[in-house]
């Protein structure tokens, strides 16, 4: 199974690399509303995934026969506050989490700094979780803000 996840990641990474989703200029063009490419990518990915997901949920099982498990993400104030913070970071770096790794792989040296920052940021969030829980209305620590 490890090999399977490695292959999934590599296919995902290759597509992100070649489509502009891991490219600083394409990301700024998306936010400047001058380049349609990223809206097309995300829009078509959702347009195809949504009906496929609907059908798969109706089928209710994985292809290996296990019951399908989809953990829904909880709603809380962190969706807005964290979303805004992430948007700021996406604009600054031109990368969201997947493309940070893709850019590192492509040989873009500055992406290593973005990766280091993201790891420190995620670490700080985990350590601060008990303090953020009440003001952000976050779920119990065991559940967290949602996988994804």
């Amino acid at each position: 199974m490890v090999l399977l996840y490695l292959v999934f990641g590599a296919v995902f990474g290759f597509v992100l690399s070649r489509s502009g989703a891991a490219d600083y200029d394409f990301i700024q063009g998306m936010f400047l509303l001058t380049n349609f490419q990223l809206y097309g990518i995300i829009g078509s990915a959702v347009a195809v995934t949504a009906p496929a997901l609907f059908l798969l949920k109706r089928y209710g099982k994985t292809l290996l026969g296990q019951p399908l498990v989809i953990e829904l993400k909880p709603g809380h104030r962190g969706n807005v506050v964290g979303g805004v913070l992430f948007g700021v970071g996406w604009s600054i770096t031109g990368m969201c989490p997947g493309p940070i790794l893709v850019n590192v792989g492509e040989g873009k040296l500055y992406a290593l700094a973005a990766l280091a920052g993201a790891l420190v940021g995620a670490g700080a969030f985990g350590i601060a979780y008990p303090k953020l829980q009440a003001p952000m209305r976050l779920p119990a620590l065991a559940r967290g803000t949602g996988d994804g």
């Binding site: 996840y5 349609f36 996988d147």
Partner: protein
């Protein structure tokens, strides 16, 4: 044109289909919900002792997320190798032409941006993949709220930088 070897970008619909294929196959075969940013927590959990990093959602996610993260990196390597050869580079497109900072400035800029990404995605409970692709496709309201928030913030900051400040 991409920064990487000035390659022509593939059509957006091809990319959308590819991402959709990965998302659906990951769920249909392995019963996994696509999401990258939790992988940052998985990496943190290898070295940090805080209770947040000891919870089972993190430790049980490591065996599949860490290989997927490594795969993302390899996808980038493969793309560079097949697209004209792998080479270390500082090229940053319009940042170079409009702002023009050298390596030290880029490292500081990217590290600062990374802090926002790491903290923000985990506070929001996901990123472009977990909320934007999977969550929206699954019609989850928190994902819509998060996606609108990060797209809106990105539009504001990039426009501030390239149309107001510069």
């Amino acid at each position: 044109m991409l920064i990487l070897h000035d390659l022509q970008a593939i059509h957006w619909a091809v990319a959308g289909l590819g991402i959709s294929f990965v998302t659906i196959t990951l769920l249909a075969v392995a019963n996994r919900r696509l999401g990258v940013s939790t992988g940052f927590e998985d990496i943190c959990s290898l070295v940090l002792d805080a209770p947040y990093f000891k919870r089972s959602a993190v430790t049980q996610g490591r065996p599949w997320r860490l290989p997927m993260l490594l795969g993302l990196l390899l996808g980038g390597v493969l793309s560079a190798v097949l697209g004209g050869g792998w080479a270390a580079t500082w090229d940053l497109g319009m940042f170079d032409t409009e702002i023009g900072w050298g390596p030290a400035g880029k490292v500081a800029w990217m590290f600062a941006g990374g802090l926002f990404i790491g903290f923000g995605t985990r506070l929001a409970g996901g990123c472009t993949s977990g909320h934007g692709i999977f969550g929206l496709s699954n019609l989850e309201l928190p994902s819509l709220v998060t996606t609108v928030s990060f797209m809106g913030a990105g539009v504001v900051v990039t426009n501030l930088l390239y149309r107001v400040i510069l």
